[in-house]
């Protein structure tokens, strides 16, 4: 929690490995926070999709990790970190339709290979770094000032 003087809001939450029962709770929480802050609905939707994909990715692929949301008056920053196993070929993982998800996970309706590409598509800035054995870090930014409010 940062001080109110800097006018930022930060909330860090952890995601457990394979906990599908809780999947979606964090993105749902983000949506509620952003709507209460009066963030434009188009941005809310993009954050919703990106954070949901991140949450599912953590549950499916990682050994556990965390999601940190920081809201500034002009942008939203999302930091996704996990403790492993790391991605061997990041470029390939960024390709649409490429997935290493197990058959079991696909049976749940996940693992279409759209997770990372969707995150990149929905965010205004996207950065990923990963090393096998060290885990994966994703940074995403969403601008708040560009989109004009919808006409009523």
């Amino acid at each position: 929690m940062t001080s109110g003087e800097n006018q930022t809001f930060q909330e860090v939450r952890t995601v457990e490995r394979s906990n599908f029962a809780a999947a979606g709770q964090i993105s749902s929480y983000y949506k509620n926070v952003l709507k209460k802050l009066g963030v434009h609905s188009g941005v809310v939707r993009r954050v919703a999709i990106a954070s949901y994909e991140a949450e599912i990715n953590l549950a499916i692929h990682s050994w556990g990790g965390s999601m940190a949301l920081t809201i500034y008056p002009d942008r939203i920053h999302l930091l996704i970190q996990d403790v492993g196993p790391g991605i061997a070929d990041v470029d390939r993982a960024m390709q649409e339709g490429y997935s290493t998800a197990s058959e079991e996970v696909r049976m749940l309706g996940f693992g279409a290979g759209m997770g990372l590409p969707n995150m990149r598509r929905c965010s205004d800035a996207f950065e990923i770094s990963s090393a096998v054995g060290a885990g994966t870090t994703v940074n995403m930014d969403f601008n708040l000032l560009q989109e004009q409010p919808q006409e009523q």
């Binding site: 929690m1 940062t2 909330e11 949506k31 709507k35 209460k36 802050l37 963030v39 919703a48 309706g109």
Partner: protein, 429 residues
Amino acid sequence: MPIKQLYHSVKLEKDKCVGCTTCLKRCPMECIRVRNGKASILYELCIDCGVCVQICPHHAKVAQTDSINSIFRFEHRIALPAPTLYGQFRNVPSVDNVMSALLRIGFNDVFEVARAADIVSATMRDLLKTTTVRPLISSACPAVVALIQIRFPELLPNVANVLSPKEVAAMLAKKEYSKAHGVPIEEIGAFFITPCPAKMASIHSGRSTYVDGAISIQDIYGLLSSNLKHEVPEFIRQKPHASWQGVNWANYGGECAALRRNNLLSVDGIHNVIHVLEEIENGRLDDLEFFEGSACTGGCVGGALVFENPFVARNSLRKLIERMQVGDAQAAAELELPPDEVLMMQPWGPRPSITLSDNISDAITMMDKIEGLTKTFKGLDCGSCGSPTCRSLAEDIVKGYATELDCVFKLKEKVEALARQMVDLTNLY
């Protein structure tokens, strides 16, 4: 465009309210607070779904509707029965008997809303062929539309710009009646026989141009029951009737069934609807063609203003539908109205109501305080403080509507601390 004060049907009868937390805990919008021992509704969040009306054990939550006497302010009166009405009576031989009963209680004519539902179904089928919006979201349930306006504004472009069947029914009924009897439209009153408060609210919220009022099914159930056995007038028999698919709109899934497509989803119960809208919001259902959400369990048959048990009503409707001619009545209905008349001129706009502040910096500061405060509560969401959850209490405190000591656990801590201080004081002397 002037912003109209939104009308709401759901009201509190203060005398009957004992300040329990039943409605507080079940309201899907978390828009009820118990303050000073009585419930109060935060109307900017209320969608008139009627959940509180249905569950209040003290009948303190009521739905305001127009009285049957109010129809007599018009010289010419048309009843617009929701198809749900047909399912209220056990063993009624046909829809004609229900229509005749409506004439006997004071209406001059009847226009089946189910017939308009046939027209709306046809319009929706056309729309699905041309639009690229996925999923298209039904606009039939006004509580679900209000929910989207408040909580899911980013999904508003997905909501079909199609008039509701009651609106189409009123428009057609007045035109037909005016032509047949040579009276001006203004002298004709069209009254919807409503199963729920949400439809009452939608009629009086300024979006309705042709419906003049809504009569609760519960209010006229007794009157109608005693008038079902009379002979059916010839002009009622001769009327074009709704197809079974139009009548089936009373059940959840009825609208989807009339669309003749494969990739459709119908969901009933407001909490279930919220879950599925979240899935749509997360981009998980982008391949879905159509989504039909009904706030009430079972669809309109489960409305807060019906008389019959919704499951019994569903069965009565099924029996009625089986007796109906399963012909292609909707094909005839389609001829009566060009589809563009069924489309709305004004698209659905958001109902901005849940933001903390107009200034994002202020809002961020407030959110920070809310989050911090929430963590100091036990998280039982007991409702004893009068807010539905610990988080909502934190929000109420930051907004200045409540204090920390409204929390019984915080109060207990405070009393304990005070007691300790008093003991300490007595030990001094």
